[in-house]
């Protein structure tokens, strides 16, 4: 665990500080929003529902993120990917950033995240690249966010029906991108992995998660229980993941068929 400069006590101190900082910010905003929610007349049940549903919902993706930490740990140790995926980072960004920095620092265009970084000089430069490459939104947001929100709010007050449709369309566009990716998305060219291109696994995940969600929605139309609403999505995800794991375990020759790789 503390085997070299990438995983030494100092690095663990940094990740601890990051965890405290990120959680403090989240709890600060949660407290303020909760108080405002009560003032607006939102029921305690609805507020609690938002907390519990999101908490359960986040469980499986968090484990997925932790697995990304593992895949980056060969090159960078555990702590740097852990820090990067706790702040600003995103799965698709961090791998690219690590490879880009590694290739620039080693001068080897074939260097990838399977190459262990043993030179503190290169490691330090990777930390700089991964950090500087990701901070632009933190500079932009304090400058532009209030103006964007005001613009949206003005449009919403002028034509609320159009705004509702556009908001729904924006959400659907986002979902369409991921669903399209699951149906026809290519796997990674630089770091190919089993299951990263559209294939039986991605299709199974999409079909079963949708099917379980429809099942719970229909059940709750009869039972009308708030807790079913809160748990429907995380449970649908978990059950779909279980189907994917079992399929991959017991029928890998079928499960790992990819039509886009």
């Amino acid at each position: 665990m503390f085997d070299n400069f990438k995983n030494d006590g100092f690095m663990y101190m940094i990740v601890l500080a990051v965890i405290i900082f990120v959680c403090a910010q989240a709890l600060f905003f949660m407290r303020k929003a909760w108080v405002r929610g009560k003032e607006l007349g939102i029921s305690t049940d609805a507020l609690k529902n938002a907390v519990t549903s999101s908490a359960f919902f986040s469980f499986a993706p968090a484990i997925g993120i932790a697995i990304t930490v593992i895949s980056l740990s060969v090159a960078l140790g555990y702590v740097l990917p852990w820090i990067r995926l706790t702040v600003i980072g995103a799965i698709q960004y961090e791998t690219t950033a690590a490879i880009g920095a590694l290739q620039a620092a080693t001068g080897d265009p074939s260097a990838n995240i399977a190459t262990a970084v043993e030179d503190p000089q290169i490691f330090s430069e990777i930390v700089w690249v991964m950090t500087l490459g990701s901070i632009l939104p933190l500079i932009l947001i304090p400058i532009v966010l209030k103006k964007i929100q005001k613009g949206v709010s003005d449009v919403a007050s002028k034509n609320s029906k159009w705004m509702d449709i556009m908001t729904a369309a924006a959400f659907i566009g986002l979902m369409a991108a991921f669903i399209g990716k699951g149906l026809m998305g290519m796997g990674s060219k630089t770091e190919p992995k089993i299951g990263d291109g559209a294939g039986v696994l991605s299709l199974t995940a999409l079909i079963f998660s949708t099917g379980f969600m429809i099942f719970f929605t229909l059940i709750n139309k009869k039972l009308k229980k708030n807790w079913i609403d809160a748990l429907a999505m995380p449970v649908s995800m978990a059950l779909a993941m279980a189907v994917v794991v079992l399929l991959n375990k017991f029928a890998p020759s079928i499960a790992q068929i990819e039509w886009r790789y």
Binding site: Q25, A33, I88, A97, S124, F178, I179
Partner: protein, 217 residues
């Protein structure tokens, strides 16, 4: 004049954002000092050049996602990251459950609470899992094995499959075009999810606007 809740959110958000920026920038400084290294600027420049597309998508993300995340949700999400695969679906799901709309103060409250909760849980789960991996390499090898790793590649699809179930049923008229268009685009070229999302959002909004003008929605 008395400050509204939204004004206060922007004030708190800006303070936290600037504090985050300074804190995150101090990490490479601290690592370089700790390792007694002077980083080479030309290497950092080359590394950043490889990330040019992320600077562009970073700008697009701020403009495109902030109306959906709400103000508090945006300040929180861009500090903690994993927006598309975690924070945004969380916010959408919470608004659906609470039956509140985006771009209202009720929506703002619910998305902020949902995203805060997600951040705390995600941070704790990642911490526990990574420490477990670090202490027990065989567990790490099992999770990275061909049995589990390909399955965990599909987490994002389980998120969006379950999220889409309710959404597409409710808004099926405006859903068909963007899904068909994005899938068709992917047959010819896959620009990566960072580009695909803004493309999907723009196509979807254009399609919905046409249907609105034709009075079909």
């Amino acid at each position: 004049m008395k400050k509204t809740y939204m004004d206060k959110v922007h004030t708190w958000g800006r303070i936290w954002c600037i504090a985050s920026l300074l804190f995150f920038l101090s990490i490479p400084v601290a690592v370089s000092l700790h390792l007694d290294i002077t980083p080479r600027m030309e290497i950092i420049g080359k590394g950043l050049a490889a990330l040019l597309i992320f600077f562009i998508t970073g700008i697009i993300e701020v403009v495109a996602y902030s109306p959906m995340l709400g103000a508090g949700g945006t300040y929180l999400s861009f500090v903690s990251g994993n927006i598309m695969n975690l924070k945004m679906p969380c916010a959408i799901n919470a608004m659906e459950n609470a039956k509140v709309k985006a771009n209202t103060e009720e929506g703002e409250v619910i998305t902020t609470i949902a995203i805060s909760s997600s951040i705390v849980v995600t941070t704790i789960v990642i911490a526990i899992t990574v420490v477990a991996f670090a202490l027990n390499p065989s567990f790490s090898e099992l999770m990275a094995s061909d049995t589990f790793a390909p399955a965990f590649q599909q987490v994002t699809y389980t998120i969006f499959g379950s999220l889409a179930a309710g959404y597409f049923v409710k808004h099926w008229k405006i859903s068909i075009f963007p899904i068909a268009a994005v899938t068709l685009l992917l047959v010819f070229v896959d620009p990566g999810i960072g580009v695909l999302i803004p493309v999907g959002v723009v196509l979807s909004m254009l399609g919905a606007h046409v249907l609105y003008k034709l009075k079909k929605v």
